[in-house]
């Protein structure tokens, strides 16, 4: 898991999980429609672990992607049981399509940024800004909706200075999840992350479970593997 050869370099600050995935795919020069899912998943997880080791706050989006990848990986590795039309149901499609669109938009953004940008590369004559509220009903009015809303919000905030209405709901604690998993590990010898995730009621809980797994492994309370024949990440009592 912590092969230093796979260490992702610090100089990359990724915009999000998609950005990290694109980086990994470019690094290995792989076809996004034929992703070596095990390799990419491992490296993705490694990057998350590295962020945590560096005490960088890992955004929830990364964890959601990590569990998506882990699920795809387990579905790829698990031999299909039902009668199937093989080509149509590549579980990796779940990630290939969004990746293609993200790469398309990323390249569009790069091309736009390379344009001759006004007030950065090219300039127009500097004219004096026009007067405000100029008289006459006939004068057309130039106004911005966003400015209107912003000013209104400011006024409303001045009116009601009590911030009582924003109560953040209690989050499922990672500690609780850890206890739950360790209890489970005492009963069974191993648990797959897929099974853990299946028990979760919502995305936040999946994230908490995922963080708990990472923490358990970090503290050496259990071992983790994600090799052949397992359904994704497999946690085993050590």
């Amino acid at each position: 898991m912590s092969n230093p050869a796979y260490q992702v370099k610090l100089e990359h600050i990724f915009e999000g999980p998609m950005d990290l995935l694109v980086h990994l795919i470019k690094k290995h020069e792989v076809d996004i429609y034929d992703i070596p899912i095990a390799l990419i998943t491992d490296q993705f997880l490694e990057y998350i672990k590295w962020m945590q080791d560096m005490e960088i706050d890992v955004a929830a989006d990364f964890l959601v992607m990590a569990s998506t990848l882990a699920q795809i990986k387990s579905r790829v590795l698990l031999p299909d049981t039902g009668s199937d039309s093989e080509e149509d149901e590549d579980p990796r499609d779940a990630i290939a399509g969004p990746l293609a669109e993200y790469i398309r938009m990323k390249s569009a953004a790069e091309q736009l940024a390379a344009k001759s940008i006004l007030n950065e590369h090219v300039f127009i004559r500097q004219c004096d800004q026009q007067q405000q509220d100029s008289a006459g009903a006939e004068t057309p009015v130039e106004a911005d909706l966003y400015e209107l809303i912003g000013l209104y919000q400011q006024l409303m905030e001045q009116m009601a200075p009590d911030p009582d209405f924003e109560i953040t709901p209690e989050k499922i604690s990672v500690k609780e999840k850890m206890n739950e998993i360790i209890d489970l590990l005492e009963k069974k010898k191993n648990i797959s992350f897929r099974d853990l995730a299946a028990e979760c009621s919502d995305r936040d809980e999946i994230i908490a479970a995922f963080l708990a797994v990472l923490e358990i492994v970090r503290l050496n309370l259990a071992g983790i593997s994600h090799t052949e024949n397992s359904s994704g990440l497999l946690l085993y009592s050590s």
Binding site: D61, V64, F123, I124, R125, Q126, C127, D128, Q130, Q131, Q132, D133, S134, A137, E138, T139, P140, V141, E142, A143, L145, Y146, E147, L148, I149, G150, L151, Y152, Q153, L155, M156, Q158, M159, E166, R203
Partner: protein, 177 residues
């Protein structure tokens, strides 16, 4: 210095105020003042010879591109209906009228904390707000609301399209999947 003429031409083009040879020298320490003067002279003659829509004129101790006085009447047509930007006071009043309509002047003033008679008058004049009627309370004061022109100016189909502040201006909420 290569391209000096083009550089000076682009600086004179961009500048809001006339630029003197000394000011140009400060911007272009790589060039000699004499050289700069020569280039200005050259440009001035070039534009005079070209006899186009604008010329390089010496004004207020510097040089500036100016349109030829002959074209004044056409330029006035262009500049006449400059769209006016609304002041912050007007935008605030308009926002309250939009979100709270039908609204009383006293309610607008309560929210803004300042007298708003003049701004209301201005917005009425610009046809961005209108009198919707009277509230049936003692004194029967006027209530205000926004107009069709208001929707046009802000590119809204109808009032239901007016975004609630929390839809964009508020903090982060749950995202995608």
């Amino acid at each position: 210095m290569q391209d000096l003429k083009n550089i000076i031409e682009s600086l004179l083009f961009v500048s809001k105020d006339p630029l003197s040879a000394e000011q140009l020298k400060n911007l272009l320490p790589e060039a000699e003042t004499g050289e700069i003067r020569g280039v200005i002279e050259e440009l001035e003659q070039e534009y005079r010879k070209k006899n186009g829509g604008f010329l390089l004129r010496e004004v207020a101790g510097g040089y500036q591109f100016r349109t030829r006085p002959e074209y004044r009447q056409w330029i006035e047509r262009l500049l006449a209906p400059q769209p006016a930007r609304l002041s912050k006071a007007a935008m605030e009043t308009l926002a309250i009228a939009a979100y709270h309509q039908p609204v009383l002047r006293s309610e607008i003033e309560h929210i803004r904390g300042v007298n708003s008679g003049n701004t209301i008058r201005l917005l009425l004049e610009k046809k961005l707000i209108r009198v919707l009627g009277r509230r049936e309370i003692p004194g029967r004061p006027l209530v205000y609301g926004t107009t069709k022109k208001f929707l046009e100016v802000f590119g809204l189909k109808d009032l239901k399209d007016l975004p609630a502040p929390q839809e964009i201006a508020a903090g982060e909420d749950k995202n995608n999947t």
